[in-house]
Amino acid sequence: MTPPEILIKVTDLVFGYPGRPLVIDGLDFELGSDELVGLTGHNGCGKTTLLEIIMGLRKPQAGTVEILGKKCTEEKHFRPLRPKMGFVFQDANDQLFCPTVADDLAFGPLNLGASRQEADQVAQKVLDNLGLPDFGPRVTYDLSGGEKKLVALGTALALSPRLLILDEPTNFLDREAVARLEEILRQLQLPGVIVSHDVGFLDKMVKRRYWLEKGRLTAV
């Protein structure tokens, strides 16, 4: 087996929204290619903010972000790396912007240079994996909250990412859907970060959990 690679490495991260106390204050974090970790913390402690910094969607005031071994400071560094980190937003409405589910799933692969036919094939495969085989022609705004959430995960999976970054994936899911999500994640065997308030879910899915408070991480 190849030794684990460092997928994400952030050091001495500092971030605050203008005119407010710092949300992230000297934070260090490392994700190896062999681990799926959990991230918890009180509402508003900065979990989503941290993920957005890792994705390069917010610029930290200080500190470094390294993704897949590459130092990222500017938009152009993050751009090619983002599709490799399957990021699923807290609110699925933000993620699904295409008319139909099939269009939305095909969007990522098309951006990566796939032909329409290939993209449609990827979309169908993802839907099969999610257990929603005939959702392709469904209109995205007609889906239920839980269905949206699963399809949003699908849009990340359609990119064949190296890792997953999920912001509260179990929101709006009933127990059955959570079970399906657990099954999907287990089959994928992808490393990554899961933000969740659902301790039961995290205990089943991850080996390690971090607690975010006062801008820093502690292992629990």
Partner: protein
């Protein structure tokens, strides 16, 4: 099938590019019609198109049509009386004169308005918005414009839901609209929060697109192929269009 899951019918199975083209040309043609006969034929033609847009409830269609055209009432209330050039007077009530020219003009205007909206109704009710947008793009409409319309249609329902939810939240806390400052301020807050949330959402949607490798290109299905059925629709509307043109020229 239409993108909104409507029933399958003649119009819904035809090429969206053709439908967009028909929508534009037919509306323009009718807008320029001058004669009463041509306007009548236009209305009949739109009716034929509407009939081809599948089994629809007549009452629903009529009520939609009337709702869109409710402004015609004002035309009928004013136009027949307000012809400045002295025409053939039919009836006089004090200083109000009803003229034949005024009546004719109102009738033609109404027929045209009804014909255009009925035609548009036939096209739009037999195809999803997104399908028509894809059709417009297939005809060479600017990508940015199509993307803008596409996102707008997608999020208008989200904003609508947000509005409904905020209204509910206001009501469960005992809000009742009255004519006072509190009511005005509450509505201003509601409008404000919708705007702020809309802006916020736009930013997050952009982020989500960036995360999936978005690089400025928007993808819509455009691999259309003309079918036998499309030819039929093209001939039908061409015939209707010619009929209207000839009548109007005569």
């Amino acid at each position: 099938m239409s993108a909104l899951g409507g029933t399958v019918n003649f119009l819904s199975r035809t090429d969206p590019r053709l439908k967009v083209l028909i929508l534009v040309l037919w509306s323009f043609l009718l807008a320029f019609v001058q004669s009463r006969a041509a306007a009548w034929v236009g209305l009949v033609g739109s009716g034929v198109l509407y009939a081809f847009s599948g089994p629809q409830s007549l009452i629903k269609g009529l009520s939609r049509l009337l709702a869109i055209n409710s402004f015609l009432i004002f035309i009928w209330l004013t136009l027949p009386f307000s012809f400045s050039t002295p025409g053939t007077e039919i009836y006089r009530l004090g200083w109000l004169a009803l003229t034949q020219e005024g009546l004719d003009f109102s009738l033609i205007l109404s027929l045209k308005a009804l014909a255009i909206t009925l035609g548009a109704l036939a096209i739009t009710s037999s195809s999803g918005v997104f399908e028509l947008l894809a059709g417009a793009k297939g005809l060479g409409a600017p990508e940015k414009l199509v993307a803008l319309c596409q996102l707008m249609t997608r999020y208008i329902s989200v904003i609508g839901q947000q509005y409904a939810r905020s209204r509910q939240a206001m009501r469960v806390r005992g809000f009742q609209p009255r004519t006072n400052l509190h009511t005005l301020r509450s509505y201003a807050n509601l409008a404000g929060i919708l705007l702020v949330r809309g802006l916020d959402r736009a930013e997050r949607v952009r982020s989500a697109m960036l995360c999936r490798g978005y690089n400025g290109r928007f993808w819509a299905k455009t691999d259309f192929r003309l079918k036998f059925l499309d030819l039929g629709l093209a001939y039908l509307t061409l015939a209707l269009g010619l009929w209207v043109t000839i009548l109007d020229a005569a």
